[in-house]
Symmetry: C2
Subunit: 538 residues, 2 copies
Amino acid sequence: MAITDETSGTGVSRRGFLSRVGATGGAGAMFATMGALGLAPSAEAATRAPFQPPRASDFRLRGRGAAKVAVLGAGVAGLATAYELGKAGYDVTILEAQDRVGGRNRTLRGGDRLAEMDGATQRIGFGKGTYMNAGPARIAQWMTTMDYCRELGVPLEVFTNSNADAYLFNESAGMKAPVRWRTAKADMYGYISELLAKATDQGALDQRLTAVDKERLLSFLSGFGAIGSKADGFAYKGTDGRRGYSVNPGAADTEGTVLGSVPSLGDVFASGVGRYFSFEFGYSQAMLMFQPVGGMDAIPRALAEAVGQRKIRTGCAVSKITNLAGGVQIEYEQDGRTRTLAADYCVATLPPHVLAKIPHNLGANVQAALGTPVPVSTGKIGLEYRGRWWEDEERIYGGITNTDLDLSTIWYPSSGHHSERGLVVGYYNFGAAADTYARMAHADRLRRALDQGAKIHGDRYRKGLAASASIAWIRQPHIQGGWISWPSRGAEYALLNRPQGNVYFSGDWLSYEIAWQHGSFESARKVVTELHQRVLKS
Amino acid sequence: MAITDETSGTGVSRRGFLSRVGATGGAGAMFATMGALGLAPSAEAATRAPFQPPRASDFRLRGRGAAKVAVLGAGVAGLATAYELGKAGYDVTILEAQDRVGGRNRTLRGGDRLAEMDGATQRIGFGKGTYMNAGPARIAQWMTTMDYCRELGVPLEVFTNSNADAYLFNESAGMKAPVRWRTAKADMYGYISELLAKATDQGALDQRLTAVDKERLLSFLSGFGAIGSKADGFAYKGTDGRRGYSVNPGAADTEGTVLGSVPSLGDVFASGVGRYFSFEFGYSQAMLMFQPVGGMDAIPRALAEAVGQRKIRTGCAVSKITNLAGGVQIEYEQDGRTRTLAADYCVATLPPHVLAKIPHNLGANVQAALGTPVPVSTGKIGLEYRGRWWEDEERIYGGITNTDLDLSTIWYPSSGHHSERGLVVGYYNFGAAADTYARMAHADRLRRALDQGAKIHGDRYRKGLAASASIAWIRQPHIQGGWISWPSRGAEYALLNRPQGNVYFSGDWLSYEIAWQHGSFESARKVVTELHQRVLKS
């Protein structure tokens, strides 16, 4: 699969041409030419053939029939595979071990039961309308997930991934209280602007900067850092309202009081708040981001409806995968009995570490490859409060607080503002921190989450709690991890991305967007395309 | 009215104490102490007495009756004044020149008529569900406007004031195509990080930075700019995905192709894209921001309902204001007849330049003061398209594109994603640019807006247009401006913020948040408080 095509119709590579323009043109020439050649993002993306779903007419025109396909797992990859194959009339059956579809795309609501692998079970007590997206919770606008939401008619709203009024807090740096994102940014950007302006003005960067560059840079820094003039030593004083106000600007003589006091440069650097800033620049994390209205599970529900419930067998745990000369045979357990499903092809979308425990005849290399990715621990706790104190008392309408505590992040709800109740995600963490909470019973997780969160929000964090629920993904049966990590994308990754006889593998774990539904959708589309091409040629 | 109280109960100013801590403490001491003293934003804000609405019991306990108040203008300030006074049983009458409430808070919908001062009238042809907030369109979460939305039950949703996937475009800098915000940020932050890292490493800032500061700064810059290591000269290469991708990361071997080519430092500086960045740091503009679901006019509609329609007389243009020894007398024109309203007090909320044209007996100083603020020109055009090409073809789900064109900004809708139609604000501009469009007939505004916008979005910008509407606020009868600007907040500002006999003035123009509903609400609260205190003492 070609990744991109850098060669234009003239036989001259565009990148090569641009390099030459850059070498000889004046300031702005590269920028200008880049646009003229149509290398704006949308134009570049258009050089790649879009996904073409299988069509029933593909068979009619060739006089062939669709094949029978067993899909293992009704997570996003499995459902998308069945959905796309179904468009061409493939005879698809999905086997799902759990009693529901969605896999890790799970939205917890009042009345749900959440069982863990040791048998501990939570009965979710959330009120009507309250939910927590236990798995995926955000969608970047470039992701294929958006296309499926459009196609399936899943209504979207903004997911509030960043909020200038949420907090940053690094206990290990000695901070005794959180600072708002906006305040931390004002101070950090102010001081780095001051420093760079000084260095520039003093000629320290004359080897890299022309006189015009310097002038433009100083002009940028003046606005970017809200710093003083050259006469003021370019000093950052923090007098600009972007820090926030202790008394807001109001009527008549209420000019507003800018939040004080301004910490020193050394204190701002020592606080470490700047480490969180680049999160917002991430290709997958930059705002704007989106979520389905009412819960992320709207996506698997819509997919399952489009696939057709009769094609989805829940409560069916796969126990053996046999590749045959002319097809596949899948054994599975249902209601204590072993049953068999025969098909032409199989698409296995279970997590690799779960697949690795299922007997198969695909060979030692496949088994070794399935054992290569490392499951990643992650967890969340949902705290339903009777009142929205974060809105009413702290003026935080959504977004995420970042900390160095083991709760890692606190999420405020993206919708339902000013309504009676609301659900705060009290921790969303990874690795060792997630393992710490995973080892606890829910009551202990709750106690610890409240203790930690009170460092940010004070005593109000412990009050008015209506219900709570926590998930530790490594303890979820048939899933056993938040996602996986490849030590390297080597031969094992390549092997599992190729069909093994009549068995295909699919999932976010076989993509470059692990832990995102985008990865699942893209992997499903790849497998569907390859399988369909094979069937058409067979 | 005291602005803030910096003195603690011990008689030692907190700011003074913090300065001493800063002088003697180690790194982080200031930060830590700041929190320990409770100077987090919410604690500081709590030092200020909150607004206390007048209550009926205020009169019952004192054996007094509420007064009769004439409110001039049914904009946000006038409605809020009547609403708050009404809580205590004041006998309020609002006189409004237009046939609707809201003033500049106006939402245009299909079927509306929009008349301009020279008689040109647009019949708005938007489809069902499409609207444009012609006036205020965004609310910062700290603003008092949020409190009124809560109190009045106006549902809110995120207003998308920033989007990493919207564009920046400076034609005058020689750019031939727009760049995404995310790409511009990646390049600008990359290069300034490279420069500051070089200067820091070379010792150019040793007078300002300790060895520990330098280490922390270099660590920050590494992540902030995604720059190379010291061995690589801290070079920014633009290889990080935060620039965006020409081919998105996908399944199997589709690692993704980072958007290229990367412009040089000099070209990035020359493009001037960095000038837009600090917009996002503004106290009133930083995300997250909000809007009422379905249109901003939900706020005046809810206020008017709470006030009671029988207290609001539309189509009544005030023609004379007479302050009397024991009250006020207001003359107004209704259906071609001059009528009179007598009251104990008057609250005049019309724009100052409109008030200045109405005869009164408040004296030459008041007249001079009313003539001091300068009206500011601003305008918008709404472009309703039959399809959401900005979402489907350019992956822009909301947010704002900034340019140096006379359209200034293009706004993409904050909700209704993936629905059939959508409304793009084709220009929202100010000053000379707004005047240019204000002078044109709507058809010419539309033509120019499409020509300019096509520089950003290409030919698709001209296609699929269903309807359009434009507003030039300086040509709106009884309003004649977007907002006003005070040459300085001197004696005139102070004068109009004091009652003149029995006449009070109120509006965003008498606040420190001009052009925001917050300013109107705060000014209304101030006047209501003062008037009520006076009545209670009278």
